[in-house]
Symmetry: C2
Subunit: 239 residues, 2 copies
């Protein structure tokens, strides 16, 4: 049986503050955990209903009742693993880089990480206001893609001021992406769900691009940030 | 104060069975309700904290406590409206038509309806196994786009067997969409989140298309159905 203190520690990892304090994050479900185990991530402890045949010091078999107590899911899925948050890496200077300016929804960030993985974007640079990629909902939504995309959190003002790459930004009133020259190396900035790219960051964008609207009634407000990212990454990569 | 029976009726509309029985569905939030009021949909009754200045027989001012009782949201948003489910329309025979084969997630369907609206796709044909578009979560996710896209539910086998348009289907192993000739008029079929397009429907597809994967590790399983739809609709419309 898990001790009260252990349960308290594990459930605290739902909050960014405690993830940072302990340097740990949680992943759930056999498939996701398996993908994370096959990556460079370091397992701290696995709590599971069924054995993964790991080193016994790393694996704790637990009851359904205990799993329910520590799980963040409505329907716990056999196992919960605690991994160490990896050290941060140097910011990328080359290649095609996706930048997120305050994307807040964990589902959107998870979907965007999967898109980066699909399109071979190896670096995702997020503003400090972007939802934490070790948030359990993000981890669930990435379906393991988080192991193949390097995610950085930094001050975007500093980062974009110092890059020598062209800085593309998605705006409602930008040039149509279908006719724009898109460089193989560059930075693509996507903005917040409600407010788009912030004013300070807008000043650092060198090419404003847009996905044209085809509906005749023209009332649709905007595309969801994840679907807009999908279309723009497809445009960058197909050429 | 709302009667117990009224509350029971309203909350029952969370379930498809009761929506169909009563021919009614629920929309919440001032902005969404306003968009629906500005469309051809017929309001049955509005329950609200603040007046919309409608005909008094259509508007019921209610307390916060009553709103909480009838709302499907964690944080109720000022108003809840009940609209009549519109009569079904004839199935589309021309234009670019999106077809969904058992898409189950309300968020995905909502996002796809917004995409149709953005890209000027006026007809969305769904299999009977696709989540109901009058599900409250779908209505919330469409952000009003549901008023501008005609959504049909039908037997896809019959529908696709009788169409004279080319039938494109999204598969993991299809021809790359970037090189495929895409007709202005046609049917694009997207499959279920976990299983893709079903075997029976696969036989009716005349052109198998795919979004190429660019990641070098090639482990990403697949794109989410909403992001894949975004990319494919963009490809159909940009040319």
């Amino acid at each position: 049986m898990l001790s009260k203190n252990k349960i308290k520690l594990l459930t605290s990892l739902k909050q960014k503050k405690y993830r940072q304090q302990h340097g740990l994050f949680v992943a759930e479900g056999i498939k996701t955990i398996q993908e994370l185990l096959n990556s460079n991530l370091v397992l701290q402890q696995l709590y599971t209903r069924i054995t993964f045949n790991l080193d016994t010091s790393l694996e704790t078999l637990i009851t359904e009742t205990d799993l329910k107590k520590i799980s963040f899911l409505k329907t716990p899925n056999q196992a919960l693993a605690v991994f160490k948050i990896p050290d941060s890496k140097p910011l990328p200077k080359t290649g095609l880089i996706l930048v997120l300016d305050a994307v807040r929804d964990p589902g959107n960030l998870g979907t965007i990480i999967r898109l980066c993985d699909w399109f071979g974007i190896y670096n995702l640079v997020c503003s400090e206001q972007t939802v934490d990629c070790f948030n359990p909902k993000v981890i669930q939504a990435t379906m393991g893609s988080i192991t193949r995309v390097q995610i950085h959190y930094t001050d975007l003002n500093d980062y974009l001021s110092s890059t020598s790459l062209p800085v593309y930004g998605a705006f409602m009133d930008g040039n149509t992406v279908y006719q724009e020259t898109l460089m193989k190396e560059g930075v693509l900035v996507m903005g917040n769900e409600a407010n788009g790219i912030s004013e300070a960051i807008e000043k650092l964008v060198t090419k404003r691009i847009s996905i044209p609207r085809f509906g005749s009634i023209q009332e649709t407000e905007s595309l969801n940030v994840a679907t807009a990212t999908a279309i723009l990454l497809s445009e960058f990569k197909r050429r």
